[in-house]
């Protein structure tokens, strides 16, 4: 079961409060998740805290599932940071700004665990 979703990324106060402490496990907890509408989550058969694979043409990332009834159906939110940016649209379309919001993505349940900050950054050095 895959969910077709529109991915947006952005600030949360909790992600922001660990900006200057990114080596902390709390930063990981506050960034490596994806918020979905409760109905989308139940359609995927996923409970809060279980893992999701979010993928699109730009890459894929494993994050934890979180419920947010404020999200309309089909809208996925990942806090700004290395996990979200693994799958945002790098193309600036000639205006300098990459596509951090509105990235068509597929979401499915995953048995894998999210990578921590160091492991994630190491994937860029290969």
């Amino acid at each position: 079961m895959k969910l077709e979703a529109n991915l947006i990324t952005g600030r949360t106060a909790y992600q922001g409060s660990y900006l200057e402490y990114k080596t902390s496990p709390r930063y990981f907890e506050e960034c490596a998740y994806c918020e979905l509408n409760p109905e989308d989550l139940s359609q995927l058969g996923v409970s809060e805290g279980e893992c999701l694979k979010v993928s699109n043409e730009h890459g894929e990332v494993i994050v934890r599932a979180k419920m947010n009834s404020g999200n309309p159906r089909g809208l996925a939110f990942i806090p700004m940071g290395p996990w979200a940016n693994a799958i945002v649209d790098p193309d600036t379309r000639g205006c300098g700004m990459p596509g951090f919001k509105g990235v068509p993505s597929q979401i499915e349940k995953s048995d894998k665990e999210p990578l921590d900050l160091k492991s994630l950054m190491r994937t860029y050095c290969q």
Partner: protein, 434 residues
């Protein structure tokens, strides 16, 4: 014990200047009135792990070296590169920005601020249509309608609403929240939208359409609007437009919901056009919700020193600016960059994966107080003092008001300004000897 009042918070563009900080034996023991973001940043200076020593990557590992060795290695990289990207400079003082621009000019680098992934499109929108702005003081004292469009101040600028907008009591707004209406436009319910009198849930990426539909109503052409635009029924669009038209003084605060979604700079352009129409009937202004506390300051300093606000390329030995071409992400994606100097920002965490991959390939110098995602990719790391806590400096608030940040505690770390000054001197030495 030392009690320091009127401390300016070095976190977001709200630049709250009313904090009280207590210091005992050079340790911060109490912070009053700061939000969660500001509190964690200021308290973290004494609590969180710092980069204690300059480091150079040897055989894949960062190894501690002396400050002089790090400066020498960094200057060597800069002096021997053809296309250096100098990026960040938003969480630091204007004085450091000024030095960074000088370094970029001397090394023929391309210098860009975090506006590249934030309000860069807003800058373009201002070029296109202008920006009828006001100070936050004007908003506090006069605004009877505040619109938050594509922004979530409860999370990103937590004290904005109590100090300047939603709840602030001013000369003509003595009743605070009761004196004004709050409207929120967003793609999903947020903690900010829950506090609004009017919440409009726009379809993702359709802000431009909604802005223009509102303009049609303002200009008395509502007959051209279909039954629904951007997922919003016509009646709601008319309601929002009427709120704007009937307000005595309205302010549209706009955030990443406009700059990062489809249409990008055209959204800011449309806000500006909307204000042009609105100001035929009432008074209306727009203010971008700037993120880093001094990203506005980077734009100010760059403007007065080079004539351009960001994405400035000195490769031709004169300042050249074309953000879609000279923006940090663009130049990285084209694979042109052969070295990078990153300060007071974390592109490792906040650039798209393709750009990070390009950054990982080139020799990179990092100047920062803390270990972050960029450190994982850096080849030379120079620890810095935290501006606004360990060193003073000037910063510009989101409404372009300059404020002087204080030094609260002593430190042995050098400031960004001192580090860049040393780098300039070393680069000159190497180039002079060549």
């Amino acid at each position: 014990m030392k009690v320091i009042t009127d401390v300016v918070c070095p976190f977001c563009g709200s630049l709250c200047d009313d904090l009280t900080v207590k210091v005992e034996d050079n340790v911060i023991t109490d912070i009053q009135r700061a939000c969660i973001l500001g509190h964690n940043k200021i308290a973290g200076v004494c609590l969180h792990e710092r980069i204690e020593s300059p480091m150079i990557r040897k055989d894949g590992e960062l190894v501690e070296v002396t400050y002089e060795e790090a400066i020498e290695k960094a200057a060597d990289i800069l002096a021997n590169s053809k296309r250096t990207l100098s990026y960040g400079w938003a969480s630091t003082s204007c004085e450091a920005v000024s030095k960074a621009i000088q370094l970029a000019e001397e090394t023929g680098s391309l210098i860009d601020s975090t506006a590249n992934v934030c309000h860069g499109p807003t800058v373009l929108a201002v070029h296109e249509k202008g920006s009828p702005a006001a100070s936050l003081g004007q908003v506090k004292n006069r605004a009877d309608l505040v619109v938050f469009w594509g922004c979530n101040p409860v999370h990103a600028h937590p004290r904005h609403m109590s100090r300047y907008s939603t709840y602030a009591r001013g000369f003509f707004t003595k009743k605070g929240r009761k004196a004004r209406n709050i409207a929120v436009v967003d793609v999903r319910e947020t903690d900010t939208s829950k506090l609004a009198d009017k919440y409009v849930q726009v379809d993702p990426g359709c802000d431009y359409m909604l802005l223009n539909a509102i303009r049609s109503v303002i200009n008395e052409n509502e007959d051209v609007i279909p039954a629904q635009v951007a997922g919003i029924p016509k009646e709601e669009i008319i309601e929002l437009a009427t709120m704007l038209k009937e307000a005595r003084f309205s302010c549209i605060f706009y955030g990443m919901g406009t700059t990062q979604s489809r249409s990008k700079y055209k959204n800011g352009d449309a806000v500006s056009s909307l204000l042009y129409d609105l100001n035929q009937y009432s008074k209306s202004v727009m203010i971008p919700m700037r993120g880093h506390y001094n990203v506005t300051g980077f734009g100010q300093v760059a403007n007065w020193e080079t004539g351009y606000p960001n994405a400035i390329d000195f490769n031709r030995r004169l300042a050249y600016y074309n953000p879609g071409e000279t923006g940090a992400s663009d130049v990285l994606l084209r694979g042109e960059v052969d070295s990078a100097i990153i300060a007071a920002a974390d592109p490792g965490a906040h650039f798209a994966q393709e750009a990070v991959r390009c950054l990982a390939k080139v020799p990179m110098i990092q100047i920062d107080p803390y270990h972050n995602a960029t450190t994982e990719l850096a080849d030379v790391v120079i620890p810095a003092a935290v501006v606004g806590v360990e060193t003073e400096g000037t910063a510009y608030r989101m409404d372009s008001i300059p404020l002087r940040m204080k030094k609260l505690i002593d430190t042995t770390f050098k400031s960004d300004e001192e580090i860049v000054t040393d780098l300039i001197e070393k680069v000159r030495e190497i180039k002079g000897g060549a």
